[in-house]
């Protein structure tokens, strides 16, 4: 019993440690004046009003959502069939894809941006400064996470056995994949997809170097406002956090609903 308590205390310490900067940011966003005292001298929601009434903020938010969701969807659409095919039918290529998925971890953002700019800022394929280069870069950024997630998922559901069972019941490989494998994968990758989304939503380095002001995401917007007012920045950050939180909760609830329904049917 005493040991259980120890774990709870450890977890509580970590929670507090992780929440303090967030809490501080929140306080700052509702403070009118907070120069040299422990707590704000006065409170206001003026900062939030300023942010929410700024159309630039909403545009930036929209862009962030758009590019993050699009990248994740692209990654899922490409990685799920690819990983499935490699692990089922082309096992000898598995080690290559492993290396490919590790490389993005070894290339820091700045470095990667340098390489991309060199190729795509001039010459035949000039997509530098456009959404397309960002989309491609973001795909590579989240690819390692999606690869691991899909691979783990396939192993957990024992994809090979499911395929064999489906094919014995007269399904073609495509039908088996669509009706049996896909639904089971969807559940397992939600967490990773969410993680990938939040990762991209908060991405700054690549966005700044590759497109900068041409495609202003929330992070770029934040950066430009940095010199104006810390209070404003805090409000933006809190808004941005709320968005990610809402999306996470929506996705997890949707997930529970879907798995709840299917459990009633098939089991």
């Amino acid at each position: 019993m005493r040991r259980k308590l120890m774990h709870y205390i450890a977890a509580a310490i970590i929670l507090i440690y992780l929440s303090i900067p967030l809490a501080v940011t929140f306080l700052y966003s509702i403070a009118q004046k907070w120069q040299s005292s422990v707590l704000p001298e006065s409170y206001t929601i003026a900062w939030y009003q300023a942010v929410l009434s700024d159309i630039r903020f909403w545009n930036a938010l929209g862009r962030s959502f758009f590019i993050s969701i699009a990248s994740v969807i692209l990654c899922l659409a490409v990685m799920i069939p690819t990983v499935f095919i490699i692990t089922m039918y082309l096992k000898k290529y598995e080690k290559y894809i492993e290396i490919i998925s590790i490389i993005p971890f070894s290339i820091p953002g700045v470095v990667y941006a340098v390489g991309l700019i060199r190729i795509y800022s001039k010459g035949p394929v000039n997509i530098g400064g456009t959404v397309w280069i960002l989309l491609g870069a973001f795909f590579i950024v989240v690819m390692p996470y999606m690869y691991q997630a899909v691979r783990n998922c396939l192993m957990t559901i024992d994809a090979r056995q499911l395929m064999e069972a489906a094919e014995l019941l007269n399904a073609t490989k495509l039908q088996a994949f669509v009706h049996v494998i896909l639904p089971n994968i969807m559940k397992g990758i939600t967490v990773s997809a969410l993680l990938a989304f939040s990762l991209l939503f908060g991405e700054f380095v690549l966005t700044n170097i590759l497109v900068g002001g041409a495609f202003e995401t929330v992070q770029i917007y934040l950066f430009t406002k940095q010199n104006f007012s810390g209070h404003l920045c805090s409000a933006i950050v809190i808004m941005y956090f709320i968005c990610v939180l809402v999306l996470s909760l929506l996705t997890t609830t949707a997930n529970k609903l879907i798995s709840g329904r299917s459990r009633g049917g098939i089991q």
Binding site: L18, Y28, I100, P104, F105, V114, L199, F204, S248
Partner: protein, 279 residues
């Protein structure tokens, strides 16, 4: 066999994206680093980088900050993730949710939050002033130490996420058997538990290290480029108005990449001894 061909066709999108956005940029960086600015090939960029005390210090600083923050964050993650696993399911999920959320808290917002906390007019600074202590005597946020603290902060959620599944590999019965054979809890972890998750610990540390080394946004926001870090130097050379020198940036980038690869190899060889056992 049309089945084979069909399958290979399905792999084309992946292949295209990988070549376009991973292989080519990689090659381009290496190629760029070998350029001499006039269209020819040479190692002059590397020479410039290595002989410059300025850049070498940047590399040393980056290395120092990253290694310390990675090690500390790993230790916190190893213990923290284990404790979290032992919580009741609902609480555990909530804690993991919060941890995942705060993993987004990096870069500019994070730097700013730390400034508010322990900067010159920070909350903690003010509290300490009330006790007659000057935080500045012990700790300066706008220094390497401060940066290390910020880095450690944002590496912990990632570390927890990575270490969490590693504990699946430890069977409860091992601990029970060890206890019955006379081991204390600590002895169990020392002889059986930690060796079992050692590969994961090393893997996590490598990833955290690579992450820290490449961190850019937090460093810029905190120091406005006043601290000499490799990632900031590279960024400045690429997008700076004054010293635009993409070739040198490429060389530095390759050096950074090699540090990461080297650290990876070291950690893998440390695990290999144990890995023989896992066979």
């Amino acid at each position: 066999m049309s089945n084979r061909q069909y399958i290979k066709i399905c792999l084309i999108p992946f292949a295209f994206l990988i070549v376009a956005f991973e292989i080519l940029p990689l090659m381009s960086i290496v190629a760029g680093s070998l350029g001499d600015g006039h269209g020819g090939y040479s190692l002059i960029q590397y020479k410039n980088a290595i002989t410059s005390r300025f850049y070498m210090q940047g590399i040393a600083n980056s290395f120092r900050v990253s290694i310390i923050s990675a090690v500390v964050a790993t230790i916190i993650s190893v213990a923290g993730s284990y404790s979290i696993r032992r919580l009741a399911p609902k609480i555990r999920d909530a804690v993991m949710l919060i941890s995942n959320m705060t993993s987004n808290f990096s870069g500019i917002p994070l730097a700013f939050a730390f400034i508010v906390l322990i900067g010159n007019n920070g909350v903690v600074t003010i509290i300490m002033k009330m006790f007659g202590l000057n935080l500045r005597d012990y700790f300066n946020l706008y220094s390497i130490a401060g940066l290390t603290m910020v880095y450690t902060y944002f590496l912990v959620p990632l570390g927890i996420l990575l270490m969490y599944p590693a504990y699946d590999g430890i069977k409860k019965e091992w601990e029970e058997a060890a206890l019955i054979l006379g081991a204390t809890r600590i002895e169990f972890w020392r002889h059986i538990g930690i060796p079992a998750v050692f590969p994961s610990i090393m893997g996590t540390m490598s990833i955290l290290f690579a992450n820290a080394l490449g961190a850019y946004a937090s460093a810029v926001a905190l120091t406005s480029g006043n601290i000499n870090l490799l990632s900031i130097r590279i960024g400045a050379l690429v997008s700076g108005d004054i010293n635009l020198n993409p070739e040198l940036a490429s060389a530095l980038a390759v050096i950074l990449g090699m540090i990461v690869v080297f650290t990876n190899l070291v950690s893998q060889s440390m695990t290999r001894g144990r890995r023989r056992a896992r066979k």
